[in-house]
Symmetry: C2
Subunit: 335 residues, 2 copies
């Protein structure tokens, strides 16, 4: 018998998540059934998409119901097992939710994947969850990265953007331009991650700098943010330029109708393409991305950084970091 | 020696073309050189893209210079020839410009294509110029039309839209929904062209009707107009829906920054794609489209209608018809 502490959705937020959005509840978990295991959550993966699940709007997954645990990826440790699949002490990852404990097994519907022994859990939550595969498939499959491409990545200091930009460089892009907010993040993007340059959207005209940095135009844009930055990139698109719509963080907290990208007509002139994707569609192929990324990390070619926030109760605050631009790297809540 | 009457660009229009936009000039043409032919223009193809060439802005072709003949496709008749390529009486088509006569040949840079003997010139100007190939390649190659697709075509009573929609039906679309302005055009689209239905954007909520007519969503949208209609379609996109950006007639006369499509984020949720194209890229393959369309006309499967305006001087007025929605079918100026 274990006590679970869980954050349930109490009220749908209008704009940012606030103190009324979630409620902390405690519950006694039932004894384990056959083929089940008890997992203590160690890390939560804090992702912008969680904010979209809180809206009562159609999405690629159903909205989180009022009273339901906030849906979230994460990593846990098996603390008790009645399953051959899980051994005590195993680290497992998957959709754990904003809570301290859960039971995994066939009957619970929560299937958590054991991590290979010795895996660094922070690397795993950063690269093996949704961010790594998102960067990998978004860039290589949706974006069809080509040798010699001029690539732009927004949210470049974030989990997905930092991986996408490094991967572009590794896979033969001629130039990788990051966009991030503030001098510290930009320094991280160029000095640590090795992007060719980084535009600070808080202090520079993105459209003008893009024009200077990519005078022949942008071949591939990996878009995590939407909004004005997307418009600035469309204005500087190269012939047959591709825009990969990964996210639109600029819009997730908007309550009214967002402004669309005026410069979309450039897609006609430049024979360009703008394509959205949801990484879940690639789930059967995650091991391919995870394997490739882990190898690059081992070889020292790919770096990852996590912004760790301690305490389950701080998960809502940590979620807001993504929209405030507080974090550099992957936001993780440690329990 | 022949006298050419020509409309040259006198002033770049802000918004609609008006009485100051062009000037009618007369000039004596020089005697024919070797391998040249004199062509009397019979029909001008009036296309929305002409309006975009009048702007002093980068485009897929250079802007028309002040003092230059307005660039335009059309059909002429060879009235004198010193070329083996052209015989007196031949009908030829290509970029003739808004003028009564021109000299075609290697030295003039104007290469006009002879029409196969017996070709109906109105069919040719409608289907063999840019509209037919635009509909053909836009729908089948860029849009990757699939059997069973639910297809929406805006500008459905216009030259490109009417062909695209009929072609979609012929090639196996499950349902073809037109969008046009006014009950007469809508009647033409359904009764004459055989679309399954037509939404009158002047009197109906396009978003609501699309939702009713395509409850499972829109697989393929052939967009000639942009603006609010594009946004309404994006709101109703099916999973993996494709938007073919052919034109954006709603924006061509705008002087400020146009509103972009707010609902572009639906491309993420629906894993959709929005792609622009310029039919000139397919020029080497025009004969393929022309042959296929001519065959469908001969078989009675494909209909075409022209809206004929008499007199070179009325070309600017005819161009405005496209934006006023005056025309049903292809706008042609007859000289």
């Amino acid at each position: 018998m274990a006590t679970n502490r869980k954050l349930v959705l109490a009220e749908r937020p209008a704009g940012r998540v606030d103190e009324n959005t979630v409620e902390l509840l405690e519950e006694e978990l039932p004894p384990l059934g056959e083929n089940e295991a008890l997992v203590a959550v160690r890390y939560l993966s804090i992702d912008p998409t969680i904010r979209t699940w809180m809206n009562d709007a159609p999405g690629y997954l159903p909205p989180i119901g009022i009273g339901e645990v906030v849906r979230s990826g994460g990593i846990g440790e098996v603390v008790e097992s009645r399953s051959d699949r899980y051994n005590e002490g195993d680290l497992v990852f998957g959709m754990v939710g904003w809570q301290s404990h859960l039971i995994t097994g066939e009957s619970t519907g929560a299937f958590l994947q054991p991590l290979p022994p010795g895996t660094d859990p922070l690397m795993a939550i950063n690269l093996f969850g949704i961010n790594g595969p998102t960067a990998y498939f978004g860039l290589l499959e949706v974006g069809e990265l080509k040798q010699g491409d001029v690539v732009v990545v927004s949210g470049a200091a974030g989990a997905t953007g930092s991986t996408a930009g490094q991967l572009a460089k590794i896979k033969g892009a001629k130039k990788v331009i990051g966009i991030a907010g503030g001098p510290e993040k930009c320094a991280f993007v160029t000095d640590e991650l090795g992007f060719d340059c980084c535009i600070d959207y808080k202090s520079e005209s993105v459209a003008r700098r893009l024009h200077e940095e990519a005078p022949s135009g942008i071949d591939l844009y990996f878009d995590n943010v939407g909004g004005e930055i997307l418009d600035a990139v469309l204005a500087n698109l190269a012939l047959r330029g591709r825009v990969v719509l990964c996210g639109a963080i600029a819009h997730y907290n908007e309550t009214g109708r967002p402004a669309g990208p005026s410069n979309y007509t450039n897609l006609i002139r430049q024979r360009g393409k703008m394509e959205g994707f949801i990484v879940l569609d690639y789930a059967p192929r995650y091991p391919e991305a995870q394997g490739a990324l882990a190898e690059l990390v081992t070889e020292g070619q790919l770096k990852h950084r996590e912004h760790v926030v301690d305490g389950l109760e701080r998960a809502p605050e940590a979620l807001n970091y993504l929209f405030d631009g507080t974090n550099t790297g992957k936001v993780v809540v440690r329990l």
